[in-house]
Structure formats: C-alpha cells, structure tokens
Symmetry: C2
Subunit: 456 residues, 2 copies
C-alpha cells in the first residue's frame, strides 16, 4: 500500500528523498518555502561549496543521478596548504588517490528538483510551513499573498534544514530533548576569479586552506575556473570580524595574513563588505520521528558545522539508510521509522562531533609539521595493513562505515600514532626488521581494540 | 527615571519581582495566562510542595513577606528515611538545627499576588503570551474570547516558567544557544490524610523519603496535618509507571515496596489513577537578556528538576541579585542586565547540575549506611572547623554562597571525606590526638583547595 508523502523542504535532501520515495511507488509532494531557484532571479541560497564524498555519491546513485553529476564535479585529491610565510604544502586525502568533489550546491539542487519533477513528484514553491500539528499530522502554510493553507499529511518528512518547522513543532511535545549551539565563529564568502585568459589561478584539483591558528580561509574550485573562498573567523576577539570594520583594516589584515591570496582577489574589499557574515549552528534533537506519521531527515535532524564537508553527505546517507529499511520492512512504517531513528541518531551525533573537531584540525593542526608527518604515516599504514588500519579521515570520506564507529576509532588511532612517532623517523625505521615486528604488534593491538565495533 | 515594566507570568518569581520593582519606583504590569487562582474554581496549578530555604527567605524579606509566610511554613529539620524492611532512620540537615520549610505553593503564590496588588502592581489574568518580537519588545497576547492583543513593552521580564514565551522567542534569534532535556522519570502526587482525630500520621518536622534505588517516594507535611506524597519513577523499565496499569498491579507494588505507607494512604488507588503522571525538564539558554530591553528570570532562564528543593529558591535569588544590581547601577539597565546575566548564568547552570545529582542521592544513596555515616561526619567537621568546612548541602540550603561555588567544592569534599573514612571509625578516632593532628592537616588541605573560590 503506497502512501501519500509530504516532504517539507526541496533542498538537497528533500529533493533526493522525494525521488527515492517516488521510485518506490509512493505519491510525493515537496513543499518549499522559497521560489523556484531554477527560474527566480537573484537567487542566492546557501553558499559554502559542497564537498561530495562517498556517502553523497551513494545517495545520488540511488536516484540514478551519479553520472549526470560527475560531469560537474571537480575532484580534489588533497589539501593545498598556504602557510603564513608564503610557502605551500600539499597533503593528499587518500592512500588510493581517492578524491572529494567540489560541487555547486545550487546546480546540484536544481538538477535534483528537475529529476524529482521528471519522476512525477509535485513541488509546491513559496509554501512556508509555519508549524505542524504533530499528533494530527496537519501542516500549516503561509503563502506569498498572505493567506494560509492547512494540509492534512499522511506520511511526513521534515527535510527543511537547521530551522525546520517540523523540528520546532517536535520541541513543543512532552519528552522531546533538543539543543542548538552556535559556534563563536562566523563565515564570509569571497571570490577568486579566473585569470585574464580564463585560466584557473591556483591548483584546480585541491581544497586550498590558509590555516592561521584560530581562524582560516579555504577555497574550492568551480567549473567556471573561479574559486569560492570562505573566511572562518571569530565574531569577537583579537583576529575577528568585529576588528575588520573599515576598508583599511580589511586590506591590512589580508595583506598581512593572506599575502599570497590578495593578488588573486581583485574584488576583495567589495566582496567583504557586500557579502554577509553568517553564523554556524549545531543542533541535536531526540526523538527523530513520531509514530508512523513523521520523521526528521538531514539538517532538520542534525544540523552540523561544515568543517568535515559531511553535512550533505550525512543527509544523503540518511536517505540511503531509509531506502534500505523500506526494502526490508515493506509498508511497516512504524518499524521503518523506529529503526531509522535507532540506526541514524548515534551517527547524527557522531558526525556533528566530528565536524566540530575537524575545525581545529583545518584551521590549526594542518599547518603543523608533526601533523603532516602523521598524515603520511597513516597513509603508509593503510597501504601496509589494508585489512587492519583505515584512517578516520578515510573512513569518514571514502567509506560507508558508520560515523559513530569512525569517531570511536579516534582515541585508538591517536594512541597508535603516538606510540609509532615516539620511536623517531618512521620512514627510516620501517627499513628495520625489529621496528616492523614491533609495528605488527602495535597494529594488532589497535585492530583488537576496534574490531568489536560495527563497521558495516 | 522609572520604567514601565511588563512581567510575563504571575507565578512565584514574577509576583515577587513585581513587588521589588514597584518598591523601587517603577510601574509594573504582570501578565498571567491563567485565571486568578484566588477566585477561580478547580485551580490545580503546579504541585510538588516547596521546600523554602535560605535563598527563598531572603527574597521574601526583600518583599517584606517573610513574617507573614513563616506562619504557614512547617520546618523540616531532616530526612526521615523509610527503609524497605520497614525500619526508619533520621538524618538531620544541619549541624546548627537549621531547617528547610514545607510551604504550599498555591498559598504562597496567592499571598504574593495580593501583596503585589496592594503595592500597586496591575495583574492582567488570562493573557497568554503567544510570542515576543524581541528586537522591538512587542508582546502578542491571545485572550479567552479568541482575540489577540499587542502590547509595546518598555522593560520586559520573562518569569513565565520552563516553557516561557520570551525564552522561546529568544531561541529564534541568531547566536542563541539553548537546550531542553527531559528526565526519563515521571512523578505523580499521592496523599496521606490526617488521622481520624485530625492528627498527623507521621513525624511532622521532617521530609519523609522512601529511597528504593532507582525510584523513590517522598512526603512533605501540610498545615492541615496531611502529607503530600510524590512518587518519582522511570516511565519505562522494570519498576516503572508503564508497569502499573491495573489496580492490582499498583496495590501489589505499593504493598511490596512501601508497606509502611500503604495503611496511611486510603485513597492510594484512586489518587494513582486520577492524578497525572508528569514529566521533569531541565533547560539551559544563553543569553539571558536582550540589550536593556528584556531578560529571563527563574524557571524561564533555568528550569531545573526538583530534587534539591532549589527551583523557587534559585528564582528568588535571581530577584535578590537583580535588586542588588539596581541599587548599585541605578537606571543603567544595560549594565544591570549584563551583570545580572554574567553573575547568574553560571549559578543557573550549577543549580541545574546540583538538582540532577541530588536525585541520585535521595533515591539511592540516602539508604546506604556509609552515606549516613558520612553525613554525620560532615556535621561534626562543620562543628569542629566552622571557619574551614561547610558541607555542600548546607552551603546550598542554608547559605547564600553562589551555587557555582558550592558545586566546585564537591570534589574536594569527596576527597576529604574519603580520606577520613578510610581511617576507620571517625567518632572513635577523634578521641586520639594523632588522628586529630592528621585531621587538622586534611582540613587545611581542603580549605586551601577551595579558598580561592568566590564564597561571597
């Protein structure tokens, strides 16, 4: 028996979910608060470039959209580090030449919407959900003409982002736990245009980072040979947005801190004062569903900060898991939504924690010699012991290992690498049979410590 | 320059605050969503009996209501423990015969409202605040006839409890962090009536506890010689509300677990199925104020669980602190509200944590011989070293030491008592000069460890 599905939010996750549900035979209507971004002028939308990795691709595969998207995705095989002294360093992400992919959020969203409509999903734009009567599954919308509209939902998904109306309505119910936490950092987008002959001004196949301790700038490549830069900086304090009020202050700051980038940023001052300074939020909520009637998915269930590039990937993986549960449990939606929450909630918590931790890595540790050395050793360990050791970064970005498993490996990997690095130069040591015998023991100990975890 | 003050909520904290502000020359209007409890029939309101202690009394003193209330307050000098085997034990709260006081929440609230009106405060009942436009300080009320009313506030306080409309409106602003967490326990009120000659059926001047590990019952005395009992129990699990669905199940459970209380509870079955099972919430939010326009106070700022008997006491202390800041800073409300948040937020967090910790103490540890011994030793230490040692319980209940200081003393007191008790029978040991010399050292070490904290 198919259901009438209502989805709040025609963003990335809502659009993907609509296609998956439609392909399984359900009737699906998407409700989107904004106008159609494919036709509306002046659409800005959310901005941080996406880094698509394994979990994202898998979701796209389910929707049959992988090949289509590969054409507009730029592989980034590693981090190109821009040091304060003007020197650069490169750190590859994977031992197997795997990449994360720079994708335009807007372009991806438009294609997913079109695919949804091609599959028979109805999208209702400019439908702003003001609140949901959760017990009765009734949606209240406000429309552009000021009128309101009530809709009786059958099966409802809230894919409406960090400030989800469904999430908000859940929080008013008894025994619903929730939190929202803003980072004391803001972000601002800036641009590096193509050169005068249309050429790219930096290495194309890398994620560029200017690590500066407690703040940083990153840049991701676009298909039009531009780069989108994002500055992450505290709102207040010594190096902060509040200290950059005048053109002279901004110019002096960038000249001093990002000297190699400034010549590539002709519109720096204009961009800085035109583009907003946005904030970054992490949310938690429990439960994620209400009986067999509704559930939260993507940012609505677990809004996270962008520093692991996993926000969209995690949301698409929610869709993959839900799809798998539908295959197993058929039309038993009580079980499907119970199991979805049971399986995904710990992973939502884990990816939120991983994303916060990775901010410290990106803005601070990546500039550190010992850290770069450790990353090289991790890759060598992965090659030497492919069945026993996978670095946490690779688990998160290049595998489908649950986030909650990856995060539980961190401490064991920290101990392992600490022990190995205490012995001196790894790449010299591994020439020595006594060291490699010891290394076998270390790796076996590590593997024993983590193997009871759920890697499936 | 006096201000026009609007206060949301004519509960205990809102009513007290209104009197304090009025006495300082401000115009005050209280908006209360419920009808007037002094005239409305069938008013139930919130139920857990109050345990008034030092911080609460100080707030009442500011309002000039202390003497009036002492007449209806019943001192409880300690805990009367009802063990599973039917035996009883008594544990006094203080080394100085200090008490916490059982007070009727409804009676206290009525008197505070009347006092407010006598002082010239206007109370508008049945004004339910639906939301606040925080930036513009505009209040939107819905009235019983279905109409709405907008009110422009000058200075606004949200004293409207755990589900505060002002708090809710704050959470929609950028950079507001918040959380709500329900305990997996519910509570239900039950009754012990007076005897057939109107006499009290248990010790009057004690807080009765039936500690049972992961659940418990408590009873507080009322002025009409009845006791109000409250059962705290998990919603689900082996001993839980979900397991008590039939009269036979309730009867069997109480007969087995609370054998000595059952003969005193003739309406047990009726009460159990008539009275609701309520939930318990802890909330956090930051910030607590918006510019010089509005602030949260009491449960609206820090809803806590009732196990330390500090909810109302903490709210009244908020009023005391605010009153002191008005005395110092005059009409500089930006400074007053900034300082109020800076001083009180850490204490709100601390009392929330203390309340959660004390649940474990009440339901489980108080039945333990070593714990009772420790409490006796703590009192003896307080007598022998009055300038150096005050137990955390006494700090919280009988002093005005900041909660945040009290909670920071816990670990040091745990170490101290652990060291002392490891030496064997304390009350025998203190006869020995070598032990007391050692004790002097322990106490000096403890005192050095905590003396840099803020006890003022």
């Amino acid at each position: 028996m198919s259901r009438q599905v209502s989805i709040l939010g025609a963003g990335l996750v809502g659009s993907l979910l609509s296609v998956i549900l439609k392909k399984k035979g359900h009737e699906v209507t998407l409700y989107e608060r904004r106008p159609d971004m494919r036709t509306a002028s002046g659409y800005a939308g959310r901005s941080i470039n996406l880094a698509m990795s394994a979990r994202g691709w898998k979701g796209l595969e389910l929707a049959g959209l992988r090949e289509d998207l590969e054409a507009i995705a730029i592989p980034m095989y590693g981090r190109q580090l821009h040091m304060p002294d003007g020197s650069q360093a490169y750190q590859s992400y994977s031992k197997n030449n795997e990449a994360i992919y720079s994708v335009s959020r807007g372009e991806l969203n438009k294609r997913l919407m079109t695919l949804a409509e091609q599959n028979g999903v109805s999208i209702k734009f400019e439908h702003k959900c003001s609140n949901v009567d959760v017990a009765n599954n009734k949606l209240n919308f406000s429309l552009p003409d000021g009128s309101t509209q009530a809709v009786q939902a059958d099966l409802l998904f809230g894919a409406d982002g960090a400030f989800s109306a469904l999430r908000q309505s859940y929080t008013h119910m008894d025994k619903v736990n929730c939190s929202q936490n803003y980072l004391e950092y803001g972000y601002k987008e800036l641009n590096i245009p193509a050169g005068k002959d249309g050429e790219m001004m930096m290495e194309k196949n890398a994620l560029h980072i200017w690590p500066r301790g407690n703040y940083m700038m990153i840049a991701l490549p676009n298909t039009d040979n531009t780069f989108t830069c994002t500055m992450f900086m505290p709102f207040e304090g010594p190096n902060s947005f509040e200290k950059l009020k005048t053109e002279a202050e901004v110019k002096a700051f960038f000249d001093e801190k990002f000297g190699d980038a400034v010549p590539l940023m002709p519109t720096l001052i204009e961009d800085f004062f035109t583009n907003p300074t946005s904030s970054l939020i992490t949310t938690h909520i429990m439960p994620w569903h209400y009986k067999d009637k509704s559930a939260l998915i993507g940012d609505a269930a677990h809004a996270i900060v962008p520093f692991y590039g996993q926000g969209m990937n995690a949301g698409f993986e929610d869709c993959t898991i839900l799809s798998g549960l539908m295959d197993v449990h058929g039309e038993d939606w009580t079980t499907i939504l119970n199991e979805y929450e049971r399986k995904r909630k710990p992973n939502g918590d884990a990816v939120a924690a991983l994303a916060l931790q990775n901010f410290v890595e990106m803005r601070d540790k990546v500039g550190d010699t010992a850290f770069l050395e450790r990353k090289k050793i991790e890759k060598e360990l992965g090659k030497r012991y492919p069945d026993q050791f996978v670095s946490v970064y690779e688990m998160v970005s290049f595998s489908h290992t649950p986030y909650n498993t990856a995060i539980q490996c961190i401490q064991a990997q920290d101990s392992l690498l600490h022990a190995i690095m205490k012995e001196g130069d790894f790449f010299k040591n591994v020439e020595d049979g006594r060291f490699t015998a010891k290394l076998d023991t270390y790796i076996t100990e590590y593997h024993n410590a983590v193997q009871q975890l759920d890697f499936a």
